[in-house]
């Protein structure tokens, strides 16, 4: 039996340090993204929403991005777009009545639904929320506002004095061709759009708060009435206008004033929230409150009674906010029943509750926690290798990683059910899918080899990729469950081509990760010269190269066949296609070079490490080119992370080359020392 190899303790500590440094870097990055504004905003008079109210609001159906989604999803992505996070901290009057005397204010955390409820129903509070994340203080300085930190958050009240200037500036930058705009100009345009979006939310229910002031025919007897009441009189108003135009050629002044108010009210509630299911059976487009008002007033509504009843219920809900939250919840419940009932008639409510629960569960955050835990346990496993505690760490790490994997699978399955399509349709989908597949493959390799390197690697890769997915989601602030454009809308091809080619990316990354482990273990002497371990790593790398080739080649050719069916050509030299071909070619180079004896163990690992750069180029880099049919419209300022990745891989390869050179040199010295000195030839006697 082979003796347990001596493993370098120093090397183990270095490796431990590297992993800890990586984790700290990752956590710092995360904290930087989640960091709230420099000081917490104090919101006087704020009362948190009751859980029941929030739960009720979460499942209200809304049409957005071409599909029906829960209010909470809409709130989540709107908040991400404006605020850059799904959680906002504020200082609010302490809801704890016992502690209020000693601590009058407490820190509250607002979830997206709380935030959107405030924007819609309590705008006087929402205008003080730090709702706008601005990554470059120069943007606010350019419109004459005193800036805080370079990256900071501002409230609507902070920005309001410069609103007009901001809109003017945004418009002038928008006139510049998008490819020629710089980051500052893009940020200014984004801020202008975000301010408008926020205004559309806080002004959405203005009609229900202010009502309509009705003047008498002679300017007497002014009174305020509800807009829904005015809507009921739409045919009468029309008759009055027609009659007056016939008689005098003009619209009576009091009617004109009334119509102007109605127009203003409908314009304020025209955008933002499309929450009224169509009453016309032939229509699939949902209505905003403003649309419904205008359709009734212009007598184009297929079912004016229903639209009026909708507006009436919205008014009742908004007005109930002034009485009590219980009353508000009761009215919101009525609204919810009304809208959900209508949505269910056309089976449009199918996945709304599931989706609300998906975001509530925050599966990937839970997976991230488990992968973090798995990483710390893996460190323990490596540090205590060969001891009983090492075995305990091994099993705990396996359980944590497998649990993270299961959580990720549940999340992906739920997404498929909600989207009614295979798991991959956009870049965000690829990240979570690759993450899950890499973990699965790593666990399978661990099962086959029992060498622990795959298990140690799995949670670390999980942490990296889930964080990447979160960062990407925050950066994009787009709902990645929205339906796909016509050409991609094929479940057959999405299943067989996209999954296969993405699995090829996963294979390529895992291959490189194993080689990464090989170089570090050998470089830092962590393997103690264990040839069996090295052989295992090399065999697994070779197997992964084969797997990557099989998946990438199949996926690439399938993509070609799909392109041939969609666009009339098998190969269009689209950057994304080229990237996939480069992965195939690189893996073929590795296999042929190895079969030809041009690369051996070290060479295989260097090549597989370089393969991750080819994968990164195909997966991410081509998206920055803004050419081809797979473009995601990235901007160049997001390239930094990619270059950091390339440089890290390059550094590891260079490190490996140095280690190899030192080993060769040591071997030559040892061989020279062990060679016996030349012995003079003894003449033969016979």
């Amino acid at each position: 039996m082979q003796a347990t190899p001596e493993r370098s303790l120093t090397g183990r500590w270095i490796a431990f340090g590297v992993v800890i440094a990586l984790l700290i870097a990752v956590l710092a990055l995360l904290a930087r993204d989640m960091k709230p504004e420099s000081t917490l905003r104090k919101i006087e008079g704020y009362r948190p929403w009751a859980k029941e109210t929030v739960r009720l609001a979460e499942t209200l159906p809304v049409q957005d991005g071409g599909r029906i989604k829960p209010f909470s999803t809409y709130a989540g992505f709107t908040m991400l777009r404006l605020y850059g996070s799904r959680s906002m901290k504020i200082d609010a009057p302490n809801p704890d009545k016992i502690k209020v005397s000693s601590k009058p204010f407490a820190t509250l955390e607002l979830a997206p639904t709380d935030w959107l409820l405030d924007c819609l129903f309590r705008p006087s509070l929402a205008v003080d929320f730090p709702s706008f994340r601005i990554d470059n203080s120069a943007v606010v300085e350019a419109v004459g506002i005193t800036a805080g930190n370079k990256r900071d958050r501002y409230s609507y009240r902070d920005l309001e004095p410069a609103r007009d200037k901001l809109m003017e500036l945004g418009k002038s930058y928008e006139a510049i061709e998008s490819a020629k705009r710089d980051t500052f100009q893009n940020q200014t345009i984004d801020l202008a759009y975000n301010v408008r979006l926020f205004e559309s939310l806080i002004g959405y229910f203005g009609f229900a708060r202010t009502g309509i002031t009705m003047q008498g025919p002679e300017g007497q007897g002014a009174r305020t009435t509800e807009l829904s009441t005015v809507m009921q009189t739409a045919p009468i108003i029309r008759d009055v206008i027609t009659k007056s135009q016939k008689e005098t050629g003009k619209v009576p002044e009091h009617v004109q004033a009334l119509l102007e108010q109605v127009l203003d009210a409908s314009n304020f509630s025209k955008f933002g929230l499309f929450l009224l299911p169509p009453s016309d059976a032939n229509s699939t487009a949902w209505l905003s409150a403003g649309n419904a008002i205008m359709e009734v007033m212009t007598q184009q509504s297929a079912n004016p009674e229903e639209s009026i009843a909708d507006i009436k219920q919205l008014e009742a809900t908004v007005q109930a906010i002034g009485s009590s939250e219980d009353e508000f919840r009761a009215q919101l419940g009525k609204l919810s029943t009304r809208l959900i009932g209508r949505a269910k008639q056309d089976n449009q409510y199918r996945a709304v509750e599931l989706e609300a629960s998906y975001y509530r569960a925050d599966w990937f955050m839970n997976a991230l926690k488990l992968y973090f835990l798995g990483t710390f346990l893996a460190i323990g496993m490596v540090m205590a290798a060969g001891k009983t505690s090492g075995k305990v760490f091994f099993w705990l790490c396996a359980v944590a990683t497998a649990s993270g994997f299961l959580v990720s699978v549940i999340a992906i399955v739920q997404r498929c059910i909600i989207m009614q399509r295979p798991p991959i349709g956009n870049l965000y989908d690829t990240i979570i899918f690759i993450c899950t597949l890499v973990i699965a493959l790593a666990l399978f390799i661990e099962f086959l080899t029992r060498k622990r390197f795959a298990l140690a690697l799995a949670p670390l890769v999980g942490v990296g990729l889930v964080l990447l997915a979160r960062k990407f989601e925050i950066g994009e602030a787009k709902d990645h469950m929205d339906p796909l454009v016509a050409v991609l809308n094929s479940n057959y091809w999405l299943t067989i081509h996209v999954i296969t080619v993405t699995a090829g990316y996963a294979g390529g990354l895992l291959t490189a990760a194993i080689s990464f482990v090989y170089v570090l273990l050998r470089g830092f002497g962590l393997d103690g010269g264990d040839r069996d371990l090295r052989r295992s790593l090399t065999k697994v790398t070779y197997g992964c190269v084969c797997l990557t080739l099989l998946l990438s080649l199949t996926g690439t050719v399938l993509g070609g066949i799909w392109a041939n069916d969609s666009w009339g050509r098998f190969w269009g030299w689209d950057p994304k296609e080229n990237g996939a071909l480069m992965i195939v070619l690189w893996n073929l180079v590795i296999l042929h070079a190895r079969l030809g004896g041009y690369i051996k163990e070290w060479g295989l690992h260097f090549c597989s490490l370089f393969g991750s750069c080819v994968v990164a180029f195909s997966w991410w880099h081509v998206n920055f080119f803004n050419t081809g049919l797979h473009t995601y419209g990235f901007t160049n300022d997001k390239q930094t992370m990619l270059w950091v990745f390339y440089y890290i891989i390059l550094a590891v390869i260079i490190f490996g080359i140095i280690v190899r050179a030192i080993e060769e040199s040591n071997k030559r010295i040892a061989s020279a020392a062990s060679t016996s000195p030349d012995v003079p030839k003894v003449p033969e006697l016979f």
Binding site: A486, G543, T554, G568
Partner: protein
């Protein structure tokens, strides 16, 4: 491909044998695959600046044995072999090494299968490169067409006008005039009373009136106009070619030069005796063996967005009086008699409700249309057998090893 040759005390191999070994060896395969990867990478980078069509012609056309790559608009002074020839050599290498020379045996069968699949794919690529034709056909609702227009190829068209209709149309193909940038060539038309001399071809040019802007580079003038050269468009479909033509009489006398330009709105009208002819430079039209009528076009969008959901063209194909209805939509083309019709786009842009729409089909004639699919199945079978076998052997050895230890 076989294993590297083992040292043996045999006599040195002949030059022919050594050449064969080199041509079928792993070394050449590795270098060619690497070169192909590098060319693909460089072409991906270069198409950002130069456009796809120009880049492909530069990197992968058979007329390009060597290329000088450009990165960020700067030429890299390292000549690389052209992609077409790398692929051709790779096909030979694969056929010789991966099928012919490879050690024969049960274990090598999957390997031979996968190499054969790649050979089919590469040959299919060659066939497509040389023999495929692509164009587009735009047809309005209720209208019929049997003519597709090439995306890139400009031709010179000479037609006689009889009863206000073009007849006896003669076409000079793009390949016959594209090399005439600084020279000219005489094209004879035995059926017409004159011949044409064509020269000064430019890939992208615009006729300019000398009164509007004087020629700056001594361009040839024709009836107060000259052809101003423009850099090639990134989107090569938008190029408008131009050339000069001279009418050559049967007695050899030549007329003043005439400008023929893709950017002109109307063809040049030539009176010859009592007969009227038109000379035109336009994208090549090709006539299909059947008519296509667009009955209805439907564009569906996801509600409340401008995101397209479905584009559906309901068409009728008419051939020899026989009618057949078909539907063409994204991912569901119509294939018939070697031609394939794909739903490409529609118009007019921003059409309102009730407005008459037209549908644009991409028309492709490609003898190797289905070859990639056949090759895929061959390769997948080969690779799955090969790698699957290796995985099974690996698992067996692991468990065997585990049970022994």
């Amino acid at each position: 491909m076989s294993s590297p040759s083992q040292s043996s005390p045999k006599a040195p191999a002949s030059y022919a044998r050594r050449f064969f070994d080199w041509l079928s060896g792993f070394g050449l395969a590795t270098v060619l695959l690497l070169l192909l990867g590098i060319l693909t990478w460089l072409a991906t980078l270069e198409q950002r600046d130069s456009g796809l069509y120009a880049t492909l012609n530069k990197y992968f056309d058979w007329k390009a044995p060597f290329i000088l790559p450009e990165i960020n608009g700067k030429t890299v002074p390292i000549p690389l072999p052209g992609g077409y020839w790398v692929c051709a050599l790779l096909t030979v290498n694969l056929a010789l090494g991966g099928v012919l020379r490879i050690r024969k045996g049960l274990k090598q069968i999957p390997n031979i299968i996968s190499h054969s699949g790649i050979i089919i794919l590469l040959i299919g690529g060659g066939v497509t490169h040389h023999f495929s034709e692509r164009g587009n056909l735009a047809v309005g609702e209720g209208e019929t067409s049997n003519v597709a227009e090439d995306y890139f190829e400009y031709v010179v068209e000479v037609a006689e006008i009889l009863d206000n209709k073009p007849t006896a149309i003669h076409v000079i193909r793009g390949a016959q005039i594209e090399d005439l940038e600084t020279s000219s060539r005489l094209f004879r038309f035995p059926n017409l009373p004159f011949d044409l001399e064509i020269g000064g071809y430019q890939e992208n040019a615009q006729p300019i009136a000398a009164t509007e802007r004087a020629p700056e580079n001594g361009e040839l003038m024709a009836d107060g106009y000259y052809l101003q050269s423009k850099p090639g468009e990134k989107n090569a479909e938008a190029n408008t070619a131009g050339c000069y033509a001279k009418v050559v009489e049967r007695d050899g006398t030549r007329s003043d030069p005439i400008i023929l330009a893709g950017a002109s709105f109307h063809p040049y009208t030539l009176r010859h005796g009592n007969r009227i002819f038109t000379l035109d430079m336009r994208k090549r039209l090709w006539v299909m063996p059947f008519d296509l009528t667009l009955n209805k076009f439907t564009a569906e969008f996801y509600p409340g967005t401008t995101r397209p959901k479905k584009f559906i063209s309901q068409v009728t194909r008419t051939e020899n009086g026989q009618k057949a209805n078909a539907t063409i939509q994204m991912n569901e083309p119509l294939r018939y008699e070697g031609l394939t019709f794909f739903q490409a786009s529609y118009g007019p842009p921003g059409a309102g409700p009730g407005q008459k729409l037209y549908s644009v089909f991409e028309v492709v004639k490609n003898p190797a249309d289905k070859w990639p699919e056949y090759s895929l199945w061959v390769v997948v079978v080969g690779l799955t057998l090969q790698f699957g076998l290796k995985l099974v052997l690996f698992i067996r050895s692991r468990f065997h090893h585990a049970s022994h230890s």
